[in-house]
Symmetry: C2
Subunit: 257 residues, 2 copies
Protein backbone atom coordinates (compact mmCIF):
# COMPACT_ATOMS: atom_id res chain seq x y z
CA UNK A 1 0.00 0.00 0.00
CA UNK A 2 1.50 3.36 -1.01
CA UNK A 3 1.67 6.16 1.48
CA UNK A 4 1.36 9.57 -0.16
CA UNK A 5 4.61 11.54 -0.18
CA UNK A 6 4.60 14.53 2.12
CA UNK A 7 5.08 17.94 0.59
CA UNK A 8 4.26 19.54 3.92
CA UNK A 9 7.11 21.13 5.87
CA UNK A 10 9.20 18.58 7.78
CA UNK A 11 7.61 18.01 11.16
CA UNK A 12 10.55 19.59 12.92
CA UNK A 13 10.33 22.83 10.97
CA UNK A 14 9.09 25.64 13.15
CA UNK A 15 7.09 28.01 11.01
CA UNK A 16 6.79 31.71 11.67
CA UNK A 17 4.01 34.12 10.90
CA UNK A 18 6.24 36.05 8.51
CA UNK A 19 7.05 32.91 6.55
CA UNK A 20 3.56 31.67 5.97
CA UNK A 21 0.99 34.41 6.06
CA UNK A 22 1.92 35.87 2.68
CA UNK A 23 0.89 32.69 0.94
CA UNK A 24 -2.36 30.76 1.43
CA UNK A 25 -0.78 27.55 0.14
CA UNK A 26 1.81 27.59 2.91
CA UNK A 27 -0.96 27.94 5.49
CA UNK A 28 -2.87 25.06 3.89
CA UNK A 29 0.29 22.97 4.06
CA UNK A 30 0.27 22.95 7.86
CA UNK A 31 -3.43 22.14 8.30
CA UNK A 32 -4.81 18.67 9.03
CA UNK A 33 -8.27 18.98 7.47
CA UNK A 34 -10.31 17.19 10.08
CA UNK A 35 -13.66 15.39 10.27
CA UNK A 36 -13.93 13.05 13.24
CA UNK A 37 -17.63 13.28 14.05
CA UNK A 38 -18.83 9.71 14.57
CA UNK A 39 -21.88 10.20 12.37
CA UNK A 40 -20.02 11.67 9.38
CA UNK A 41 -21.21 9.90 6.23
CA UNK A 42 -19.16 8.59 3.33
CA UNK A 43 -20.19 11.56 1.19
CA UNK A 44 -18.95 13.98 3.87
CA UNK A 45 -15.61 12.16 3.97
CA UNK A 46 -15.31 12.31 0.18
CA UNK A 47 -16.12 16.03 0.20
CA UNK A 48 -13.41 16.53 2.84
CA UNK A 49 -10.92 14.75 0.58
CA UNK A 50 -11.92 16.83 -2.47
CA UNK A 51 -11.48 20.04 -0.49
CA UNK A 52 -8.09 18.86 0.79
CA UNK A 53 -6.90 18.02 -2.72
CA UNK A 54 -7.90 21.45 -4.04
CA UNK A 55 -6.46 23.36 -1.09
CA UNK A 56 -3.37 21.13 -0.69
CA UNK A 57 -3.84 20.63 3.02
CA UNK A 58 -1.18 18.58 4.84
CA UNK A 59 -3.64 15.76 5.43
CA UNK A 60 -7.21 14.75 5.98
CA UNK A 61 -7.77 13.50 9.52
CA UNK A 62 -10.54 10.87 9.65
CA UNK A 63 -11.60 7.97 11.84
CA UNK A 64 -9.99 4.58 11.06
CA UNK A 65 -13.11 3.23 9.33
CA UNK A 66 -12.62 5.87 6.59
CA UNK A 67 -8.88 5.47 5.95
CA UNK A 68 -9.22 3.26 2.86
CA UNK A 69 -11.90 5.48 1.35
CA UNK A 70 -9.75 8.58 1.98
CA UNK A 71 -6.68 6.89 0.48
CA UNK A 72 -8.62 6.10 -2.70
CA UNK A 73 -10.13 9.58 -2.86
CA UNK A 74 -6.71 11.22 -2.42
CA UNK A 75 -4.87 9.04 -4.95
CA UNK A 76 -2.63 11.22 -7.09
CA UNK A 77 -2.79 14.19 -4.72
CA UNK A 78 -0.12 15.33 -2.28
CA UNK A 79 -2.47 15.08 0.69
CA UNK A 80 -1.71 12.45 3.30
CA UNK A 81 -4.22 10.32 5.22
CA UNK A 82 -4.09 10.96 8.96
CA UNK A 83 -6.11 8.84 11.35
CA UNK A 84 -6.62 8.49 15.09
CA UNK A 85 -5.62 5.64 17.40
CA UNK A 86 -7.21 4.89 20.78
CA UNK A 87 -9.40 7.86 20.12
CA UNK A 88 -10.60 9.88 21.92
CA UNK A 89 -10.16 8.29 25.38
CA UNK A 90 -6.72 6.68 25.06
CA UNK A 91 -7.46 3.87 27.50
CA UNK A 92 -8.10 0.87 25.27
CA UNK A 93 -4.68 -0.66 25.96
CA UNK A 94 -1.46 -1.11 23.99
CA UNK A 95 -2.38 -4.24 22.07
CA UNK A 96 -5.66 -2.77 20.83
CA UNK A 97 -3.87 0.45 19.85
CA UNK A 98 -1.20 -1.51 18.01
CA UNK A 99 -3.79 -3.44 16.03
CA UNK A 100 -5.64 -0.24 15.15
CA UNK A 101 -2.35 1.31 14.03
CA UNK A 102 -1.30 -1.71 11.99
CA UNK A 103 -4.65 -1.84 10.18
CA UNK A 104 -4.58 1.89 9.50
CA UNK A 105 -1.04 1.69 8.08
CA UNK A 106 -2.06 -1.28 5.91
CA UNK A 107 -4.94 0.77 4.53
CA UNK A 108 -2.79 3.77 3.68
CA UNK A 109 -2.54 6.06 6.69
CA UNK A 110 0.63 8.17 6.67
CA UNK A 111 0.08 9.88 10.01
CA UNK A 112 -1.24 8.41 13.27
CA UNK A 113 -2.62 10.68 15.97
CA UNK A 114 -2.67 8.49 19.06
CA UNK A 115 -4.11 9.41 22.45
CA UNK A 116 -1.71 8.87 25.33
CA UNK A 117 -2.85 6.55 28.13
CA UNK A 118 -4.33 9.11 30.51
CA UNK A 119 -5.36 6.48 33.05
CA UNK A 120 -1.80 5.18 33.31
CA UNK A 121 -0.44 8.73 33.50
CA UNK A 122 -2.81 9.64 36.34
CA UNK A 123 -1.83 6.43 38.14
CA UNK A 124 1.88 7.22 37.98
CA UNK A 125 2.55 4.38 35.52
CA UNK A 126 4.76 6.48 33.28
CA UNK A 127 6.52 3.45 31.81
CA UNK A 128 3.18 2.30 30.40
CA UNK A 129 2.53 5.71 28.84
CA UNK A 130 5.99 5.81 27.26
CA UNK A 131 5.86 2.15 26.24
CA UNK A 132 2.61 2.56 24.31
CA UNK A 133 3.97 5.56 22.42
CA UNK A 134 7.27 3.83 21.73
CA UNK A 135 5.60 0.73 20.31
CA UNK A 136 3.30 2.72 18.02
CA UNK A 137 6.15 5.01 16.93
CA UNK A 138 8.41 2.07 16.12
CA UNK A 139 5.69 0.45 14.02
CA UNK A 140 4.76 3.69 12.26
CA UNK A 141 8.34 4.68 11.52
CA UNK A 142 9.05 1.25 10.04
CA UNK A 143 6.26 2.05 7.57
CA UNK A 144 7.31 5.63 6.84
CA UNK A 145 4.50 7.17 8.86
CA UNK A 146 4.50 9.90 11.51
CA UNK A 147 3.12 9.65 15.04
CA UNK A 148 1.50 12.51 16.92
CA UNK A 149 0.75 12.02 20.60
CA UNK A 150 -2.45 13.66 21.80
CA UNK A 151 -1.96 14.78 25.40
CA UNK A 152 -5.55 16.00 26.06
CA UNK A 153 -4.23 19.07 27.85
CA UNK A 154 -7.62 20.04 29.29
CA UNK A 155 -7.35 17.09 31.68
CA UNK A 156 -3.74 17.79 32.71
CA UNK A 157 -1.89 20.11 35.06
CA UNK A 158 1.07 22.11 33.77
CA UNK A 159 3.39 19.55 35.38
CA UNK A 160 1.55 16.69 33.69
CA UNK A 161 1.78 18.46 30.31
CA UNK A 162 5.52 18.86 30.80
CA UNK A 163 5.89 15.22 31.83
CA UNK A 164 3.75 14.02 28.90
CA UNK A 165 5.90 15.96 26.45
CA UNK A 166 9.04 14.37 27.89
CA UNK A 167 7.57 10.87 27.71
CA UNK A 168 6.51 11.43 24.08
CA UNK A 169 9.95 12.76 23.18
CA UNK A 170 11.70 9.83 24.89
CA UNK A 171 9.45 7.45 22.94
CA UNK A 172 10.41 9.10 19.62
CA UNK A 173 7.07 10.65 18.78
CA UNK A 174 7.16 13.06 15.84
CA UNK A 175 4.65 15.51 17.28
CA UNK A 176 2.93 16.31 20.53
CA UNK A 177 -0.67 17.45 20.03
CA UNK A 178 -2.87 19.36 22.43
CA UNK A 179 -6.38 17.92 22.21
CA UNK A 180 -8.84 15.44 20.79
CA UNK A 181 -11.59 18.01 20.32
CA UNK A 182 -13.88 15.70 22.32
CA UNK A 183 -12.97 16.82 25.85
CA UNK A 184 -13.87 19.84 27.96
CA UNK A 185 -11.56 22.26 26.13
CA UNK A 186 -9.21 22.50 23.15
CA UNK A 187 -5.89 24.16 22.42
CA UNK A 188 -4.73 27.23 24.32
CA UNK A 189 -1.77 29.44 23.43
CA UNK A 190 -0.32 28.93 26.90
CA UNK A 191 -0.34 25.15 26.56
CA UNK A 192 1.16 25.27 23.07
CA UNK A 193 3.90 27.58 24.36
CA UNK A 194 4.61 25.20 27.25
CA UNK A 195 4.71 22.18 24.95
CA UNK A 196 7.07 23.91 22.52
CA UNK A 197 9.33 24.96 25.40
CA UNK A 198 9.60 21.33 26.58
CA UNK A 199 10.11 19.58 23.25
CA UNK A 200 12.32 22.25 21.68
CA UNK A 201 12.74 22.57 17.94
CA UNK A 202 13.25 18.91 17.09
CA UNK A 203 9.68 17.68 17.62
CA UNK A 204 6.50 19.06 16.10
CA UNK A 205 3.68 20.68 18.06
CA UNK A 206 0.15 20.30 16.73
CA UNK A 207 -2.57 22.57 18.08
CA UNK A 208 -6.10 21.22 17.77
CA UNK A 209 -9.52 21.66 19.30
CA UNK A 210 -11.48 24.89 18.99
CA UNK A 211 -9.37 26.46 16.21
CA UNK A 212 -12.08 28.03 14.05
CA UNK A 213 -10.60 31.20 12.53
CA UNK A 214 -7.49 32.65 10.96
CA UNK A 215 -6.93 34.61 14.17
CA UNK A 216 -7.03 31.36 16.19
CA UNK A 217 -4.57 29.72 13.81
CA UNK A 218 -2.23 32.71 13.92
CA UNK A 219 -2.30 32.68 17.73
CA UNK A 220 -1.30 29.00 17.77
CA UNK A 221 1.51 29.47 15.23
CA UNK A 222 2.87 32.39 17.22
CA UNK A 223 2.75 30.26 20.38
CA UNK A 224 4.91 27.62 18.69
CA UNK A 225 2.61 25.24 16.82
CA UNK A 226 3.74 24.00 13.41
CA UNK A 227 0.68 21.90 12.58
CA UNK A 228 -2.97 22.80 13.05
CA UNK A 229 -5.86 20.38 13.35
CA UNK A 230 -9.18 21.99 12.49
CA UNK A 231 -12.50 21.32 10.83
CA UNK A 232 -12.60 24.98 9.77
CA UNK A 233 -9.80 24.79 7.22
CA UNK A 234 -11.88 26.01 4.30
CA UNK A 235 -13.19 28.98 6.29
CA UNK A 236 -9.66 29.84 7.44
CA UNK A 237 -8.38 29.82 3.84
CA UNK A 238 -11.23 32.09 2.76
CA UNK A 239 -10.38 34.49 5.57
CA UNK A 240 -6.74 34.39 4.50
CA UNK A 241 -7.56 35.12 0.84
CA UNK A 242 -9.63 38.10 1.91
CA UNK A 243 -6.80 39.35 4.11
CA UNK A 244 -4.21 38.89 1.35
CA UNK A 245 -6.39 40.76 -1.17
CA UNK A 246 -7.00 43.60 1.29
CA UNK A 247 -3.28 43.82 1.90
CA UNK A 248 -2.52 43.89 -1.85
CA UNK A 249 -4.98 46.66 -2.54
CA UNK A 250 -3.59 48.63 0.42
CA UNK A 251 -0.10 48.22 -1.08
CA UNK A 252 -1.31 49.32 -4.51
CA UNK A 253 -3.00 52.31 -2.93
CA UNK A 254 0.21 53.25 -1.09
CA UNK A 255 2.28 52.74 -4.23
CA UNK A 256 -0.05 55.19 -6.01
CA UNK A 257 1.24 58.02 -3.83
Amino acid sequence: MNVQPALVPPHSTIVTSEEIFDDPTSVAAIIDHTLLKPDASRSAILELCAEATDARFASVCVNPFWVAAARDALAGSTVRVCTVIGFPLGVNGLRAKLREAELALDEGAGELDMVQNLGALKSGDFGIVRGEIGAIAELAHSRGALVKVILETSLLSQEEITLSCRLAAEAHADFVKTSTGFSSAGATADNVRLMRSVVGPSIGVKASGGIRSLADLRTMIEAGANRIGTSSGMKILRELSTAVRANESRQEHMNGY
Copy 2:
Protein backbone atom coordinates in the same frame (compact mmCIF):
# COMPACT_ATOMS: atom_id res chain seq x y z
CA MET B 1 -9.62 -16.96 32.27
CA ASN B 2 -12.78 -17.28 34.36
CA VAL B 3 -15.73 -15.06 33.68
CA GLN B 4 -17.71 -14.30 36.81
CA PRO B 5 -21.10 -16.02 36.91
CA ALA B 6 -24.03 -13.67 36.51
CA LEU B 7 -26.52 -13.50 39.35
CA VAL B 8 -28.20 -10.60 37.62
CA PRO B 9 -31.59 -11.20 36.02
CA PRO B 10 -31.31 -12.87 32.60
CA HIS B 11 -30.94 -10.15 29.98
CA SER B 12 -34.31 -10.93 28.49
CA THR B 13 -36.15 -10.48 31.79
CA ILE B 14 -38.21 -7.31 31.76
CA VAL B 15 -38.29 -5.92 35.27
CA THR B 16 -41.16 -3.89 36.63
CA SER B 17 -41.21 -1.19 39.25
CA GLU B 18 -43.31 -3.34 41.56
CA GLU B 19 -40.81 -6.18 41.40
CA ILE B 20 -37.70 -4.26 42.23
CA PHE B 21 -38.35 -1.14 44.23
CA ASP B 22 -39.08 -2.97 47.46
CA ASP B 23 -35.54 -4.30 47.58
CA PRO B 24 -32.32 -2.32 47.13
CA THR B 25 -30.40 -5.44 46.12
CA SER B 26 -32.70 -6.04 43.16
CA VAL B 27 -32.11 -2.46 42.01
CA ALA B 28 -28.35 -2.92 42.39
CA ALA B 29 -28.59 -6.11 40.32
CA ILE B 30 -29.62 -4.19 37.20
CA ILE B 31 -27.00 -1.42 37.47
CA ASP B 32 -23.74 -1.36 35.51
CA HIS B 33 -21.55 0.64 37.92
CA THR B 34 -19.73 2.82 35.43
CA LEU B 35 -16.47 4.80 35.30
CA LEU B 36 -15.37 5.57 31.77
CA LYS B 37 -13.64 8.93 32.25
CA PRO B 38 -10.34 8.71 30.37
CA ASP B 39 -8.35 10.16 33.28
CA ALA B 40 -9.73 7.81 35.94
CA SER B 41 -6.80 6.44 37.96
CA ARG B 42 -6.16 2.90 39.12
CA SER B 43 -7.27 3.78 42.64
CA ALA B 44 -10.58 5.12 41.32
CA ILE B 45 -11.12 1.88 39.39
CA LEU B 46 -10.35 -0.20 42.49
CA GLU B 47 -12.76 1.90 44.57
CA LEU B 48 -15.43 1.33 41.90
CA CYS B 49 -14.87 -2.42 42.19
CA ALA B 50 -15.04 -2.37 45.99
CA GLU B 51 -18.32 -0.46 45.85
CA ALA B 52 -19.70 -2.88 43.28
CA THR B 53 -18.76 -5.89 45.41
CA ASP B 54 -20.49 -4.45 48.47
CA ALA B 55 -23.60 -3.32 46.62
CA ARG B 56 -23.75 -6.38 44.33
CA PHE B 57 -24.14 -4.35 41.16
CA ALA B 58 -24.58 -6.28 37.90
CA SER B 59 -21.16 -5.21 36.68
CA VAL B 60 -18.49 -2.57 36.71
CA CYS B 61 -18.20 -0.86 33.34
CA VAL B 62 -14.62 0.31 32.68
CA ASN B 63 -12.37 1.10 29.72
CA PRO B 64 -10.47 -1.88 28.22
CA PHE B 65 -7.16 -0.86 29.83
CA TRP B 66 -8.73 -1.57 33.25
CA VAL B 67 -10.37 -4.94 32.54
CA ALA B 68 -7.62 -7.09 34.05
CA ALA B 69 -7.38 -4.91 37.16
CA ALA B 70 -11.15 -5.04 37.61
CA ARG B 71 -11.21 -8.82 37.13
CA ASP B 72 -8.61 -9.23 39.87
CA ALA B 73 -10.38 -6.77 42.18
CA LEU B 74 -13.71 -8.56 41.70
CA ALA B 75 -12.38 -12.11 42.16
CA GLY B 76 -14.77 -14.04 44.39
CA SER B 77 -17.63 -11.57 43.97
CA THR B 78 -20.69 -11.96 41.79
CA VAL B 79 -19.99 -8.76 39.90
CA ARG B 80 -19.11 -9.07 36.22
CA VAL B 81 -16.58 -7.00 34.28
CA CYS B 82 -18.18 -4.98 31.51
CA THR B 83 -16.05 -3.04 29.04
CA VAL B 84 -16.53 -0.92 25.94
CA ILE B 85 -15.54 -1.64 22.34
CA GLY B 86 -14.99 0.98 19.64
CA PHE B 87 -15.85 3.51 22.29
CA PRO B 88 -17.23 6.13 22.14
CA LEU B 89 -17.20 6.91 18.39
CA GLY B 90 -17.83 3.46 16.90
CA VAL B 91 -15.94 4.15 13.67
CA ASN B 92 -12.65 2.35 14.18
CA GLY B 93 -13.62 -0.54 11.89
CA LEU B 94 -14.55 -4.18 12.39
CA ARG B 95 -11.07 -5.66 12.67
CA ALA B 96 -9.99 -3.18 15.33
CA LYS B 97 -13.22 -3.79 17.24
CA LEU B 98 -12.74 -7.56 17.01
CA ARG B 99 -9.22 -7.30 18.40
CA GLU B 100 -10.37 -5.06 21.24
CA ALA B 101 -13.14 -7.55 22.02
CA GLU B 102 -10.84 -10.57 21.88
CA LEU B 103 -8.31 -8.95 24.23
CA ALA B 104 -11.06 -7.87 26.64
CA LEU B 105 -12.53 -11.39 26.73
CA ASP B 106 -9.06 -12.86 27.29
CA GLU B 107 -8.60 -10.53 30.25
CA GLY B 108 -11.91 -11.44 31.87
CA ALA B 109 -14.65 -9.23 30.46
CA GLY B 110 -18.08 -10.86 30.66
CA GLU B 111 -20.03 -8.09 28.95
CA LEU B 112 -19.04 -6.02 25.91
CA ASP B 113 -20.76 -2.70 25.22
CA MET B 114 -19.90 -1.97 21.58
CA VAL B 115 -20.72 1.20 19.68
CA GLN B 116 -22.48 0.57 16.38
CA ASN B 117 -20.83 1.96 13.24
CA LEU B 118 -22.60 5.29 12.99
CA GLY B 119 -20.68 6.33 9.87
CA ALA B 120 -21.80 3.21 8.01
CA LEU B 121 -25.36 3.64 9.27
CA LYS B 122 -25.50 7.26 8.06
CA SER B 123 -24.08 6.14 4.70
CA GLY B 124 -26.78 3.52 4.19
CA ASP B 125 -24.28 0.66 4.59
CA PHE B 126 -26.55 -1.34 6.86
CA GLY B 127 -24.82 -4.63 6.06
CA ILE B 128 -21.62 -3.22 7.57
CA VAL B 129 -23.44 -2.16 10.74
CA ARG B 130 -25.06 -5.58 11.12
CA GLY B 131 -21.89 -7.42 10.15
CA GLU B 132 -19.80 -5.73 12.85
CA ILE B 133 -22.37 -6.55 15.52
CA GLY B 134 -22.74 -10.12 14.30
CA ALA B 135 -19.00 -10.74 14.38
CA ILE B 136 -18.58 -9.36 17.89
CA ALA B 137 -21.67 -11.20 19.14
CA GLU B 138 -20.47 -14.49 17.69
CA LEU B 139 -17.08 -14.09 19.35
CA ALA B 140 -18.56 -12.98 22.67
CA HIS B 141 -21.16 -15.74 22.80
CA SER B 142 -18.51 -18.37 22.09
CA ARG B 143 -16.84 -17.15 25.30
CA GLY B 144 -20.02 -16.92 27.39
CA ALA B 145 -20.14 -13.14 27.28
CA LEU B 146 -22.98 -10.74 26.49
CA VAL B 147 -22.98 -7.99 23.86
CA LYS B 148 -24.79 -4.68 24.20
CA VAL B 149 -25.00 -2.44 21.15
CA ILE B 150 -24.77 1.27 21.87
CA LEU B 151 -26.92 3.13 19.35
CA GLU B 152 -26.00 6.70 20.42
CA THR B 153 -29.61 7.78 20.13
CA SER B 154 -28.82 11.50 20.38
CA LEU B 155 -27.36 11.33 16.87
CA LEU B 156 -30.24 9.34 15.37
CA SER B 157 -33.75 10.00 14.09
CA GLN B 158 -36.64 7.85 15.34
CA GLU B 159 -36.45 5.89 12.07
CA GLU B 160 -32.71 5.33 12.55
CA ILE B 161 -33.26 4.15 16.14
CA THR B 162 -35.86 1.67 14.88
CA LEU B 163 -33.54 0.48 12.12
CA SER B 164 -30.57 0.18 14.51
CA CYS B 165 -32.61 -1.95 16.91
CA ARG B 166 -33.59 -4.26 14.04
CA LEU B 167 -30.00 -4.60 12.85
CA ALA B 168 -28.81 -5.37 16.39
CA ALA B 169 -31.56 -7.96 16.85
CA GLU B 170 -30.79 -9.59 13.49
CA ALA B 171 -27.12 -9.77 14.52
CA HIS B 172 -28.01 -11.54 17.80
CA ALA B 173 -27.06 -8.78 20.20
CA ASP B 174 -28.15 -9.37 23.79
CA PHE B 175 -29.01 -5.76 24.53
CA VAL B 176 -29.54 -2.49 22.75
CA LYS B 177 -28.22 0.48 24.73
CA THR B 178 -29.10 4.14 24.34
CA SER B 179 -25.92 6.18 24.77
CA THR B 180 -22.21 6.38 25.37
CA GLY B 181 -22.48 9.27 27.81
CA PHE B 182 -19.95 11.14 25.65
CA SER B 183 -22.32 12.65 23.07
CA SER B 184 -24.72 15.58 23.11
CA ALA B 185 -27.40 13.82 25.17
CA GLY B 186 -28.09 10.61 27.08
CA ALA B 187 -31.07 8.33 27.60
CA THR B 188 -34.63 9.59 27.25
CA ALA B 189 -37.77 7.73 28.27
CA ASP B 190 -39.19 8.15 24.77
CA ASN B 191 -36.16 6.52 23.15
CA VAL B 192 -36.15 3.66 25.67
CA ARG B 193 -39.86 3.10 25.00
CA LEU B 194 -39.24 3.07 21.25
CA MET B 195 -36.30 0.66 21.58
CA ARG B 196 -38.35 -1.72 23.77
CA SER B 197 -41.26 -1.59 21.33
CA VAL B 198 -38.93 -2.62 18.47
CA VAL B 199 -36.93 -5.38 20.17
CA GLY B 200 -39.82 -6.84 22.17
CA PRO B 201 -39.27 -8.91 25.30
CA SER B 202 -36.50 -11.17 24.01
CA ILE B 203 -33.65 -8.61 23.95
CA GLY B 204 -32.46 -6.38 26.77
CA VAL B 205 -32.66 -2.59 26.76
CA LYS B 206 -29.96 -0.68 28.64
CA ALA B 207 -30.53 2.98 29.43
CA SER B 208 -27.39 5.02 29.99
CA GLY B 209 -26.19 8.60 29.90
CA GLY B 210 -27.49 11.23 32.32
CA ILE B 211 -29.12 8.82 34.80
CA ARG B 212 -28.18 10.42 38.10
CA SER B 213 -31.04 9.76 40.53
CA LEU B 214 -33.53 7.14 41.69
CA ALA B 215 -36.24 9.10 39.88
CA ASP B 216 -34.25 8.91 36.62
CA LEU B 217 -33.74 5.17 37.08
CA ARG B 218 -37.42 4.60 37.83
CA THR B 219 -38.39 6.55 34.71
CA MET B 220 -36.14 4.37 32.57
CA ILE B 221 -37.40 1.11 34.08
CA GLU B 222 -40.98 2.20 33.56
CA ALA B 223 -40.15 3.04 29.92
CA GLY B 224 -38.90 -0.51 29.39
CA ALA B 225 -35.22 -0.61 30.36
CA ASN B 226 -33.96 -3.67 32.23
CA ARG B 227 -30.36 -2.55 32.69
CA ILE B 228 -29.08 0.85 33.77
CA GLY B 229 -25.65 2.30 33.12
CA THR B 230 -24.76 5.04 35.57
CA SER B 231 -21.87 6.50 37.50
CA SER B 232 -24.35 7.50 40.23
CA GLY B 233 -25.10 3.97 41.45
CA MET B 234 -24.04 4.61 45.04
CA LYS B 235 -26.12 7.78 45.26
CA ILE B 236 -29.13 5.97 43.77
CA LEU B 237 -28.85 3.16 46.34
CA ARG B 238 -28.66 5.71 49.16
CA GLU B 239 -31.80 7.40 47.84
CA LEU B 240 -33.49 4.02 47.64
CA SER B 241 -32.57 3.11 51.23
CA THR B 242 -33.97 6.40 52.42
CA ALA B 243 -37.17 5.83 50.46
CA VAL B 244 -37.54 2.26 51.79
CA ARG B 245 -37.02 3.41 55.40
CA ALA B 246 -39.53 6.21 54.97
CA ASN B 247 -42.02 3.76 53.54
CA GLU B 248 -41.46 1.31 56.42
CA SER B 249 -41.98 3.95 59.08
CA ARG B 250 -45.10 5.15 57.25
CA GLN B 251 -46.40 1.57 57.30
CA GLU B 252 -45.62 1.21 61.01
CA HIS B 253 -47.37 4.47 61.69
CA MET B 254 -50.43 3.32 59.76
CA ASN B 255 -50.39 -0.06 61.52
CA GLY B 256 -50.42 1.79 64.83
CA TYR B 257 -53.93 3.05 64.14
